[in-house]
Symmetry: C2
């Protein structure tokens, strides 16, 4: 059961002018499943993306990067679920390229103008013929108001579709930002087994869009972890159809740039948090905030050590305030000159530890009360820096439950 | 159920001349539990140790390091289970020191001649008065042939006591190496939540003993992982009573030094593997061997990425040859210039992947056959170096099962 996360209401997902979505059943892994999504863009759109840091990155990720670097105008995105086309060697590239070429031919564009995305099982041969055969149906299905259907079509072990939408006024005109994401396991910084697609009709210059996709990823998808496994296929793409009739946004540090940035980051953050809320087997949504490190990177490392610890995560699952496990994770986060005698630990409003030891006023009943909640904030102060503006980092994660094991032990069956 | 691991036969555990062990019930956490172990050494013994890298190291770990650095002759080790005395701040140090002083007074030695060890729950106040009250009973219980009882007395979530013993001839005289260990969770390189005590009567110089304890740890306890959590309390101590009547071993690269080294490493390796075989919830014992990196460290990093991956571990639990998850872990191990097109993957004798993709001859039935075994070897060849003598590293781990979650969700109840 996802943690405080409901399926999106289709009426809340505003269509983005210049962007259409079509879905079909290709039978990639299972029959009768809407597993193929085509997103087409009218001419003039700008597209930017960030991709997994995994060196075993999937064939479609390699092609996406090449096609974006080629600099041609992107006219379509092609997404299949059920098969990741990762760990498939040279043959995987050939098959991914074949699907791009097939869609490009039907749209009358070049194969490099198509971006391919795959998610699902690794090291299985992509059934590209079945995908290509389903393209006419997907293209015929296209409409602007299909974001809810696309959010469902890209799911793997997700239990709830994930979508978010915002409207914002830029240069006096209404602008839309709408996005979808998937991913419930193999989730860790540097992109998760996640696909994220966010589109806006804002008129933003390609350079500013590239900066924005990085910033949005850093403030959303790169702050989450479910199981610490960095996937082979993570991709986050930001599309600007540029059809809104305001002056072009050339830089993000303008009033218009900031308005767009705020909306895009909000949508990306909502999608990223939705992935954690629907983390495999999740029963709790945990915010880990670390303050007072010497740098943001140091704070982030400590936050991830806590968020990745199986012992911390099982304690959350059990609602057991076995909070020394959090201190242990702080200790092995890799800060060589850490002084444990300075550390403070809060669980929501409860002061659990001070100067590296149990707080004199801490009562187990107080820890227990917070641990039973479905949303919990862990706050660690390293006290290596003090004062306003000192470094901090926040990471979102979930607990580790029996269902995580069940889901991942049964995934392919 | 531990994987192919039985409790030791007391008759196989040879006493070590000059070393006696006494056990008592102190009621540290639970009543009627033999939770306190005292090991006393006759004058003339040498002791060396390696300790957790966790910066939140427990009070007893801090004291052990200080007492060893002080250079006095160690005359006793004091071990309690049920309470880790970690995350206890300055008060924890005071209490640990008090137990050392109490035991030292009864033995007529200085507090610095006692090494304290604790394992159990973190961030709880050590009941040092109860420990001190039980010292007379522990001292009265002392005998040489109590290694099996000590192996039981130091257990926490272990399901089977862990002990190993070897006899070896050095300089024409028989020498004994006998050791015990505990630890079933919070297990990861740089020492696990493990305590390991190995004693020998070999006459080895203190400097050589210090080198030997490091080498033995690197070839045993520092090659295992259960859940990737580095504990606050890990300690591995090597005791030489020096009573065997052979010439003193001043260096390890002599015939006598090599004979001792081989026996000590064999005992440490057997104990380390026993910890993994009894890993929390373990149903399979996995050997991960990585070859052909540019350095041993690179190979080790890849091996640990595989051994820590929750997705890989749940696939082993399910006997599901979802082996692309292993490739994904190789990809995120942190080798920036990794060429996925070179990678080979074997599962025991089955060639699963070649050149980064599925091997043409690989059949799922073959992978399935190996995955059903209780002992499995994963072999990855990075092909970044070739030829004899190229770098390699081996790590031992277990699978991730429902019982891991159950054990760690229920630990304190």
């Amino acid at each position: 059961m996802p943690v405080n996360l409901a399926a999106p209401n289709p009426a809340d997902l505003h269509p983005v002018p210049g962007v259409e979505i079509g879905i079909a059943m290709a039978g990639v892994r299972k029959a009768n499943r809407r597993d193929l999504t085509v997103i087409t863009l009218e001419p003039g759109a700008a597209v930017a993306g960030v991709f997994t840091q995994n060196r075993f990155c999937a064939a479609p990720v390699q092609l996406c990067q090449r096609h974006l670097e080629a600099g041609g105008e992107i006219r379509a995105l092609l997404v299949n679920t059920g098969n990741a086309n990762a760990g498939t060697g040279a043959d995987g590239l050939v098959r991914a390229r074949s699907t791009c070429a097939a869609l490009a031919a039907r749209l009358g564009v070049a194969p490099e103008q198509v971006l391919p995305f795959s998610t699902g099982v690794i090291m299985e041969t992509l059934p590209n013929e079945r995908i290509e055969a389903a393209l006419p149906a997907a293209l015929a299905d296209r409409k602007a108001a299909a974001w809810d259907a696309a959010a469902e079509a890209i799911m793997t072990t997700d239990t709830v579709a994930k979508a978010a939408s915002r409207r914002v006024t830029i240069g006096g005109v209404p602008v839309t930002v709408t996005g979808i994401a998937k991913g419930a396991g193999m989730i860790r910084p540097n992109m998760a087994t996640m696909l994220g697609f966010v589109a806006t009709d804002a008129n933003v210059a390609p350079g500013a869009l590239r900066a924005l996709v990085r910033e949005a990823a850093d403030r959303s998808f790169n702050r989450i972890t479910v199981d610490g496994d960095t996937s082979t296929n993570d991709s986050f793409v930001l599309i600007a159809s540029r059809r809104a009739p305001h002056a072009e946004i050339a830089a993000l540090d303008t009033p218009e740039g900031r308005a767009l940035r705020q909306a895009v980051v909000a949508v990306a953050e909502q999608l990223a948090q939705a992935i954690v809320r629907d983390g495999e087997g999740a029963t709790k949504f945990i915010t880990v905030r670390v303050e007072g490190g010497r740098s943001e990177d140091e704070c982030r490392r400590v936050a991830y050590a806590i968020a990745h610890s199986p012992l911390v995560k099982t304690a959350f699952f059990a609602s057991d305030p076995n909070l020394g496990r959090i201190l242990a994770a702080v200790g092995y986060a890799g800060i060589d000159d850490l002084d444990q005698g300075l550390i403070d630990l809060h669980l929501d409003d409860v002061h659990v530890a001070t100067r590296g030891g149990r707080h004199p006023a801490y009562q187990e009943a107080d820890g227990q009360r917070v641990m039973k909640q479905s949303e919990i904030t862990v706050r660690v102060d390293l006290h290596r820096t003090e004062g306003a503006g000192r470094p901090q980092a926040t990471v979102w994660t979930c607990d580790l439950s029996h269902d995580y094991v069940t889901i991942n032990a049964d995934y392919r069956s």
